[in-house]
C-alpha cells in the first residue's frame, strides 16, 4: 500500500482533539472562539495537504507515513482512498467555516469544545474504512449534540430514541455480517442487511425514519445541527457499511425510499413556517437524492451522486450559515410574514440566494454537472426515477426562492443598529460561494476524481463496469447490467 509523505491523517484527527482540550480550558467565549478558529484552520490545512499528497501520489489507497498507529496499536486504522480523499478537507472546511462564522451573540451558546471534538470524530470517520471503527465513531459522533442539548435544557427524547435505534441497528447488522462471514456464507441474510439499511436510513433522515431531523434542528444550536448533518456521514455509512454487502434488491429499496423522501421532503419545504424546519427538510431532500444516486448501477449515476455529495455539503452549509446569520440578528425565523431585510443586509441576501440555488444544481455552480450526471444515470437505470429527481430539484428551487423572498423582501425594515454581515461571516460565506462557483466553472477535476471513486465503488460491489454502460453504448441490451451482490464483500476487513 502507498504511503503518504507525512502522517497527515493522524495529525488531522489529533489536532482538533488537542484543540478541544485547549478550548475546554477557556471559559470566556471570545478566547474559546479564537482557539477554535486557530485549530480548525490548522486542521483544514492539514486535511488539504493530505488530499493534495494523495492526488500527487496517484494511488488508489494510501496510509500515513511512520505508521505510528501500527507501533502503538498494532494496526493501521486510518487510510485514504478515492472516496474519502476529498471528504477529509471538505469536512475540515465545513467545521472551520462554521466556527469562523460564529458571531459573539452565538458564541456563548455554541460549545467550541464539543465542536472540535466532533470535528476530530468526523475526520477520523472519513479517514477509516474499518467497519467496526466507523460504527464506533458514528456512535461517538452522536454524543456531543446530546450533551449540548442537555446543557441547553432542551428535550432530548426524540434524538435519543432515534440515535439509540441507529446505534443498535448498526452494531446488530454488522455483528451478523461478521458471524455470517465466519460461517463462509456468500450471500448475507436479511437479518444482517436490514438493520444496517435501517441505520443508514435513520442517520440520513430518510422517510419514515426522518422525524428526528426537524426536531434536532429545533432543539440544538444551529451550528451544531449544521455540522452534524452537512458532512453527510449517513451517506458515508451507506457507502462503507451497506454498499459492499447489500444485494441489488436492498439497494433498490434504499433507492426507492430515498426517491420518495427526495420528493416528499422537497414538497414539505413548501409548507414550512419555521426557518430551521425548512432547512431540515431541504437537507433531507438533498441527502436522499445522493442516496438515490448511490443505488445506480451506472458509473455516471454514481459519479453524479458523489459529486452532488460535495456540492450539497458546501451549499447547505452556506445556506445554513446565511440562515444562522439572519437568526443571530432576528431570532428564530418565522416564515409567516415578509421581513424585508435586504436593504439591511444586501450581501447576506445575495449569499443566501447563491448558496440556496447552488444546492439545487443551478447552472454554473458545482452541483450542476453532478445533478446532470445523477439524473442521467437515473434515467439510464429507471426513467421515472430521473423524472422524480427533477421534480425534487424543482420543488427545492421553489422553496429556496420562496424563503429568500420572505426573509429579505416584501417589506421595508429599518433598524437602529447595523445588521450587515460581520467580517467573519463574510469570510465564511464568500469562501463557500467562491468554491461553489469555481467548482461549477471548472468541474472537470472534481468530476474526474469522483468518477474514479465511482469505478472503485462499483468494482467493490462486483459490478462489471464495461457492461454497466448506458443503453446507447450497448449492443442489443435494453439497460445496464444488473448489480451482482458482492460475495466477497468484506474480505480482509
Amino acid at each position: 500500500m502507498s504511503e503518504l509523505h507525512l502522517p497527515w491523517l493522524e495529525l488531522c484527527v489529533l489536532l482538533p482533539l488537542i484543540g478541544s482540550l485547549v478550548a475546554f480550558r477557556y471559559r470566556e467565549p471570545s478566547e474559546a472562539h479564537t482557539v477554535g478558529v486557530g485549530f480548525s484552520l490548522a486542521t483544514f490545512f492539514l486535511a488539504t495537504g493530505a488530499w493534495f499528497d494523495f492526488i500527487y501520489m496517484r494511488a488508489s489507497v494510501a496510509e500515513d507515513k511512520f505508521h505510528i498507529m501500527t507501533r502503538l496499536l498494532g494496526r493501521e486504522f486510518f487510510q485514504l482512498d478515492e472516496i474519502s480523499a476529498p471528504l477529509l478537507p471538505l469536512g475540515a472546511l465545513l467545521f472551520a467555516l462554521v466556527i469562523i462564522a460564529t458571531v459573539r451573540s452565538k458564541a456563548r451558546r455554541f460549545s467550541f469544545f464539543w465542536t472540535l471534538l466532533s470535528e476530530a470524530i468526523v475526520l477520523a470517520t472519513f479517514s477509516c474504512k474499518e467497519p467496526w471503527l466507523i460504527i464506533s465513531l458514528l456512535t461517538l459522533a452522536t454524543l456531543p449534540p446530546f450533551f449540548e442539548m442537555r446543557a441547553r435544557g432542551r428535550a432530548t427524547g426524540m434524538y435519543v430514541f432515534y440515535m439509540a435505534i441507529f446505534i443498535v441497528f448498526m452494531i446488530l447488522g454488522w455483528g451478523i455480517v461478521m458471524i455470517e462471514e465466519r460461517s463462509t456464507k456468500h450471500v448475507h441474510t436479511l437479518y444482517a442487511i436490514l438493520p444496517l439499511l435501517a441505520a443508514v436510513l435513520i442517520r440520513s433522515g430518510v422517510f419514515p425514519f426522518h422525524s428526528w431531523v426537524p426536531d434536532f434542528f429545533d432543539k440544538s444550536s444551529f451550528g451544531t445541527a449544521l455540522l452534524f448533518v452537512t458532512p453527510l456521514t449517513g451517506v458515508y455509512a451507506a457507502v462503507r457499511l451497506v454498499l459492499p454487502v447489500a444485494p441489488d434488491w436492498v439497494m433498490r429499496s434504499l433507492g426507492l425510499m430515498s426517491l420518495f423522501t427526495a420528493v416528499y421532503a422537497g414538497g414539505m419545504t413548501l409548507v414550512q413556517t419555521e426557518g430551521r424546519r425548512l432547512f431540515s427538510f431541504l437537507f433531507m431532500s438533498h441527502a436522499a437524492v445522493i442516496l438515490v444516486g448511490l443505488e445506480m448501477a451506472t458509473v455516471q449515476g454514481l459519479t453524479g451522486a458523489l459529486c452532488t455529495w460535495i456540492s450539497v455539503s458546501l451549499s447547505l452549509t452556506g445556506f445554513g450559515l446565511a440562515m444562522r446569520a439572519v437568526e443571530a440578528r432576528r431570532g428564530r425565523l418565522q416564515l409567516t410574514s415578509y421581513q424585508g431585510l435586504y436593504e439591511q443586509m444586501p450581501l447576506l441576501a445575495v449569499c443566501f440566494l447563491l448558496t440556496g440555488i447552488a444546492g439545487v444544481g443551478f447552472p454554473g455552480t458545482m452541483g450542476y454537472v453532478g445533478s446532470e450526471l445523477l439524473i442521467d444515470g437515473a434515467v439510464a437505470t429507471y426513467p421515472l426515477v430521473g423524472i422524480a429527481v427533477v421534480i425534487a430539484s424543482a420543488l427545492c428551487g421553489i422553496a429556496v426562492l420562496h424563503v429568500y423572498f420572505l426573509l429579505f423582501t416584501g417589506a421595508r425594515h429599518i433598524s437602529s443598529i447595523s445588521l450587515r454581515m460581520g467580517r467573519r461571516e463574510k469570510v465564511a460565506l464568500l469562501t463557500l460561494v467562491v468554491i461553489l462557483f469555481a467548482g461549477g466553472i471548472v468541474p472537470q477535476l472534481n468530476i474526474a476524481s469522483r468518477h474514479h471513486a465511482a469505478e472503485e465503488l462499483l468494482n467493490h460491489r462486483g459490478i462489471d463496469i464495461v457492461n454497466a454502460r448506458p443503453p446507447w453504448l450497448q449492443d442489443g441490451t435494453a439497460g445496464p447490467a444488473p448489480i451482482r451482490p458482492a460475495h466477497r464483500a468484506a474480505k480482509g476487513r
Binding site: R332, Q334, G340, P363, S393, G397, I414
Partner: protein
Amino acid sequence: MPTEEQIFRALGLIVVAAPLLLTIIMGLLTLASTPLGERASSRLCQLSTVIGLLASLGILGCMLAWGPRNVTVNLGEWVAVHEFHFSVKFIFDRLSVPFAILIFVLCGVIGGFATRYMHREPGYNRFFVLFSVFMLGMIITSLAGTIETLFTGWELVGVSSALLVAFFHERAAPVRNGLRVWIVYRVSDAALLTASVVMHHLHGHGDFQEFLGVGNGVSWPAGQVIGLDAQSTLLVGLLLLIAAAGKSALVPFSGWLPRAMEGPTPSSAVFYGALSVHLGAYLLLRISPLLDDSLALSLAVMTIGLVTAGFASFAGRVQTDIKSALSFASLTQVGLIVAEIGVGYFWEPLRYVALVHILGHACFRTLQFIRAPSLLYDYGTLENAIGSRLPAAGRGAWLPSATRTWLYRLALEKGYLDAWLGMLFVDPILGLLRLCDALERRWSGLFEGDPEQPAPVARPSSTIVAEAPPAKTLAGQLLEKSR
C-alpha cells in the same frame, strides 16, 4: 492571414464573451461590496452590448460574404468522463444569428433607456447585475448547440426574470408575482431538463446538430431527426413544448405574463414583452426538424398557439392598465407565432415567417412598452391635437347584457386559468403536505408529552417600518386570482 474558420471562431467567442465578462465583472464587484457607480455601470453595459452586436453583425456579414449557413464554434469538452460528454458548443445559423442580433439591439436600447429611467433608484446596481445575467442567459440560449448549454442559458433567464419582477421588493405584490413567475419557470425548467436527460438517454448526447441532423451542408430549418422512433420523438417534443409553453406564457401558463409587469418598465419591456416571451417560440423553431417528424406534435403546437392567441386577445381587451394590455397583446402575437411554427409542418417557409414575426414583433413591442409610462401624456397630446376626446370602443353591444357582464368578468379574471391550476393541482398537493406536516408535529410532540407543539416566537431586534401584510402561504399566492 487568419482563415475563415479562425475568424468565425474569434467572432463567435466575442459574442458570448462580451455578456459573460459583463456579468462576471458586475457580479464580482457586487460580491466584493464595491459596486460600480451609475455612469460606470451604464458605460460597461453599453460597451459589452456594442461589442457583442458588432461581433454578431460581423458573423452575419462573413456568412453572407463567404457562403456558409451553419457555423459551429466548439469550445471543447467542458466535462468528459468516459461515457459522459458535456460539450460547450455554439451554433451560428439563419435562426440564431438574427436572434442574437435582436437580443443585443434590444438590450442595448433598453440599457440606454434604463440608465435614465433607473437614475438614482436604490436598486440601480442590482438592476444592471440582473440585466447582465439576463442578457448572458438570452445569448447562451439563442446560440446553444447542445441542450445542456441551452438549459444553462434558460435557467439564467429564469432566475434573473423572477428577481427582476420582484425588483421593487419593499412591497409584497411584486414579490408574490416574482415567486409566481419563478414557479412557472421551474415547471418549464423541469420539463426542459427531463427532455435533455431523455435525449441523452436515447442518443448518448444532447448535441442539436447530431440530434436534428443539421450541419455538413444542411442548415436550419432543414434537417431530419436521427435515431428516434415516433414515440420517443413525441415524448421529447412534448417535453420541449411544455418547456416552451412555460417560458412563452402559452396556455395554461399564461397567468404569469401580466404579473411580470410588476417589474420596472425597462425590464418588463425588453424581458417579458419582447425577448423572453419569445424564447419558447425560439426553442420550437430550433427543434423544428423534430416537429417535421411528427404530425401529432405539430398539431399540438399549432393548437396551443391558436388557443393562446384567442385567449390573450380575449383577456387583453378588458385590461385596465397599459402594461397588462400590452402584455396580452404581446401574448396574442406569440400565440400566432407558435401557431405558424406548428403549421410549418405543412409548408416549411412558414418557419421563416415565424422568425421574421418574432423579430418584427419584438422591436415593435419594445417601442410600445418603453412609451407606456408616458401614455397618458401621449393621449393628452393627441386629444389636444384633434380637439376632442378619443372615441371609446363599443364592441359587443349586440350581446345580451348578462352575457356581456359574464364575458367581461371572464376576461378580467384571465379565464380563471390560475384559479383552475391552483384548484386542480396546487391546492390538493399543498393540503396533503400540510396534513403530513401536522402529523409529523404531533409525532414529535409525543416525545415531549405534548402532542401540540407551539411554534417558537420570533424575537424582533428591530422593527419593520412599512407595515408588511402577512405573507400569503404558497397556496394562497398560487390561488390568488388577480394582481
